[in-house]
Subunit: 367 residues, 2 copies
């Protein structure tokens, strides 16, 4: 095999393929990127058995072939080469020579046929969305997935297509994040659970063009995201997702509108008195068009008042400051509206149009 690339194109493709390389694995071949130039295109393929990526690299095939290279070594070499033409050439023992200007690297490779190819997935149903919107929807919900695997379903996000809308839901038992987007197309109703890790890596690859589309294909066990010259394939998580609709309510006793950045700064200041070990809540005291935020920990105490617009009853309610911050940080609106039902009921941070809804359970402060 002998290929040439412009450095920048090569680096772009390597960076994309790196996103599905296992860092911890018992199968050394999964630490590799497969360069497949056995046909008319150069494909970089990586696969950690849950997530797989195939991307077409712009380059010239001088001699066809394929080789699996240790991904970390390969990517570090490419990253540090000068911005010039790069040649990748393998001999019959898969020893691979990478040359660029006067620099010359030799690294061992493996036969391509030992590589775990991506499964062939039937592409029946599909939806299309812009890269910008998909990335935004992922980033605005992903923090609410559960980090540990105790409940596998909570580590994923629900993608729900219903009546032409896409709704993404993430929850971890303490909070729920919901983002809704009209797809404006005739979309088949469907519910799938996509691993959080897949979505995280995906959001790092799609470069977020306002007009550039991503096409999402679904099969029974897989989802495929196709965009530009790249395909990201992932297993789905088995199981039935939680019914969140029964937790949604439009009733409220108290409605508060507040400057988002001011609230973020205030919760940030309160958070610095919280150490990992003691999970002290921030207490919101709402009344007379003022929200007083206070916290009292072993380190010290803090309180601060903010002007708000309010409707309804006064309320005193406590929250884990991190859960409020996580939601507030991803909301684009400058003024946010919070709805409260009572001191032991969840708080809803949502917009009028139903594009987002962040539901946070309170902490019991009735002591």
């Amino acid at each position: 095999m002998k290929l040439t690339f412009e450095h920048q194109e090569l680096l772009k493709s390597v960076n994309i393929a790196m996103k599905a390389v296992s860092s911890k694995t018992t199968m050394p071949i999964l630490e590799c990127i497969l360069i497949d130039a056995s046909a008319d295109q150069i494909r970089f393929i990586s696969n950690d058995m849950e997530l797989g990526i195939e991307t077409i690299a712009e380059g010239t095939i001088i001699e066809r072939g394929m080789v699996a290279l240790h991904a970390k070594t390969f990517s570090e070499i490419i990253r540090r080469l000068p911005a010039s033409t790069v040649t990748i050439e393998t001999n019959e023992n898969y020893l691979t020579r990478i040359t660029c200007e006067k620099a010359k690297f030799d690294i061992p490779g493996q036969a391509g046929d030992t590589f775990a190819y991506l499964p062939i997935v039937e592409r029946n149903a599909s939806v299309s969305i812009t890269q910008f919107t998909l990335r935004q929807m992922i980033n605005q919900t992903i923090f609410s997935t559960a980090a540990n695997e105790t409940n596998k379903i909570m580590t994923g996000e629900l993608f729900e297509m219903n009546s032409g809308n896409l709704r993404i839901v993430a929850l971890d038992g303490h909070r729920i994040a919901i983002r809704m987007q009209e797809l404006g197309a005739d979309v088949e109703n469907r519910r799938v659970i996509i691993p959080g890790k897949t979505l995280q890596e995906l959001s790092r690859i799609i470069d977020g063009g306002l007009e550039d589309p991503v096409t999402i294909y679904f099969s029974d066990n897989h989802v495929i995201f196709e965009f530009d010259q790249t395909m990201v394939l992932s297993r789905l998580i088995d199981g039935e997702y939680f019914s969140v609709d029964q937790m949604l309510s439009n009733d409220y006793e108290t409605k508060v509108s507040i400057q988002k950045q001011e609230l973020i700064n205030c919760i940030n200041r309160a958070s610095l008195l919280v150490r990992e070990s003691d999970k002290m809540p921030v207490i919101l005291n709402i009344g007379e068009n003022t929200m007083q935020l206070s916290i009292n920990t072993a380190i010290g105490s803090m309180d601060e008042a903010m002007d708000i617009e309010m409707e309804g009853k006064d309320i005193r309610i406590g929250f884990n400051p991190k859960f409020l911050l996580d939601a507030l940080r991803v909301i684009d609106d400058e003024v946010v509206t919070m709805y409260f039902i009572g001191p032991v009921a969840p708080c809803y941070i949502r917009d009028e149009e139903g594009k987002y809804n962040y539901i946070v359970l309170p902490v019991n402060i009735a002591r």
Copy 2:
């Protein structure tokens, strides 16, 4: 005690004082910053028993007094306050209230008299140097001090005043870094060993004005750096520093001039094939106005040729790539000159004027 500050001034003083706060200590009072407003000025004092800092903060004393506050908590609070007037007020139990706009913090404080004050040091001899030059000289040598305490003297830097010159020397057994500067003044001859940690923190505080002076005072056991409104005091390291003069030589068999950045990029590329565990050297093969750099490790091999100007004999010599990189990165010149005596003798990277001299021991590659 009751004081007011503009936020920016307060933050500046807190950041300076934080540099001498112990993070690991069995004496909780050393985790504190002392605010001393018992006289006409507001002083922030910190002390980790080896390094001490005293800085005058711009602010208004409404009521005199002093208090020791937990440095980390205090600095985090100040950092996150809005840019407005900050009031710090203590009650008779040293409970300290920090207010800024509508934010109000209460944190516990301690009586100032439990604090370990800085020792009073007799200021006999002194030299003056600009902040810019001192910081540069520290940064251009500090990496050659030893990280571990096996040999205490190697963790410090020699400051040697001789015939109106300041020479700073750092060495760790594998390499030596020397920086020389004319002080252009009638300076008393003197040799002291200053702890590396002191110099590292100092270089982070002095903001490097080309014209702003630092005055350095010496006593038998201490050194004091005085600049702007700040005093940094440090113990000296006891003992006799190594005589480096006998290791300096102007003889050479091979002299090489090379583009510094090109050499750095090339060694960087070679380094990525080196893992922590196997300390493989880079091999320089010098001859016919070419330097060929090569490395061969378990990960792969690399070689690259660079154009050089040379005088003298051909040579083949091996080095730890990190030691070459550390020196090359801090040299300002675009073209550097390297002098070799033989494959088992040190290499010298030095300028014509004798301002810098980096001496690196080779690795034995005669295998």
